[in-house]
């Protein structure tokens, strides 16, 4: 016997109503919830005045992490000019070889355990700035969190990543490997 289409329609309406109710309630309390707005919220950076001071916690992958700093393109440029930085490209080797920020070395986050020796030799007096493609890629943030857990104090994430860099710096990307420099 064919089912009554009005019965199915009623059930669909109930499912949709329940879905909207549950989803918006959960989103309201979710630590990584979506901001409902007409404008896309801008990326949040720390202001220059707190850059080298006690920094706020940032949320990465739904968990509060230990004070990983998020920096903007302008802050990255300042660090590059002052040469107080070691850039770390957390993407895959292929992505890195296609183009990366000049001076960056490649430590793919998903294989970072293969780079233990290189990581242990990172300078402690310089900012270790990790990046990947840019949102929604979280590899840079995850790499930064890993470095923070290894007691590196000056760790930051350039969340805009290579996409943001290309927008600002046009074609100023390096190809090939700079690991081992």
């Amino acid at each position: 016997m064919k089912k009554n289409s009005s019965e199915i329609g009623k059930q669909i309406l109930i499912i949709l109503f329940l879905t909207f109710l549950v989803s918006f309630c959960v989103n309201f309390i979710h630590p990584r919830g979506v901001t409902i707005s007409f404008q896309k919220p801008p990326l949040q950076f720390v202001s220059d005045s707190v850059f080298a001071e006690t920094l706020p916690q940032v949320s990465i992958g739904g968990e509060e992490t230990q004070e990983v700093t998020v920096i903007s393109y302008e802050q990255l440029i300042r660090l590059l000019k002052e040469k107080e930085i070691q850039l770390i490209d957390a993407r895959s080797k292929e992505g890195y070889l296609e183009g990366h920020i000049p001076g960056a070395i490649n430590i793919p986050y998903e294989q970072y355990f293969d780079y233990e020796e290189q990581i242990s030799n990172f300078p402690e007096d310089k900012w270790l700035v990790c990046y990947c493609d840019g949102p929604p890629c979280e590899l840079g943030a995850q790499m930064a969190e890993e470095l923070k857990l290894r007691d590196f104090k000056k760790v930051a994430v350039y969340r805009g990543g290579i996409n943001d860099w290309k927008q600002h710096a046009s074609l100023a990307v390096s190809e090939g490997s700079e690991n081992g420099k």
Binding site: I15, T19, F20, V26, G61, D133, P135, L139
Partner: protein, 141 residues
């Protein structure tokens, strides 16, 4: 008689597989709605307001309909909604591919480098659409 029971087993297996796929995909997105919103935004189809609504609602719709399909309650309604969703997925992925967008699918992972859009993703979504179509037709009998 044998044919009928074989068909029943096929129907049950297909229902479990499709329900499992949607529940898994939904839960992954529910864990990180902000990243899923970025993925939806990357398709450049919807204005940000609708991107945000989609990122909030879609994962729960997948999970709730998946659970209904799994338990066999309101089968026709849940499979019709999933049929509609999988049709939208086919259109979205195909249009991103045609426009040459180099983006992640956002289907089964919302972080990291994920699965890139491509012909294999379109085929995957078409197969999911076909499976949902079969389930919907069978739920009407």
């Amino acid at each position: 008689m044998e044919n009928r029971s074989a068909l029943k087993v096929f129907d049950w297996v297909l229902r479990m597989v499709v329900a499992g796929i949607f529940i898994y995909a939904g839960v992954i997105k529910i864990l990180n709605p902000a990243s899923f919103a970025d993925q939806v935004d990357n398709y450049r189809i919807l204005p940000y307001f609708l991107v945000a609504i989609t990122a909030v609602v879609l994962p729960w719709l997948e999970v709730i309909c998946g659970i209904l399909l799994l338990t066999g309650r309101w089968r026709a309604a849940s499979s019709l909604i999933l049929l509609g969703l999988s049709f939208i997925f086919v259109l979205a992925v195909a249009s991103a591919m045609i426009r040459g967008l180099d983006i992640n699918c956002g289907c089964f992972s919302v972080e990291g480098e994920g699965e890139k859009i491509g012909a294999s993703k379109v085929i995957e979504d078409v197969l999911l659409f076909a499976a949902n179509f079969v389930l919907f037709r069978r739920s009407l009998k």
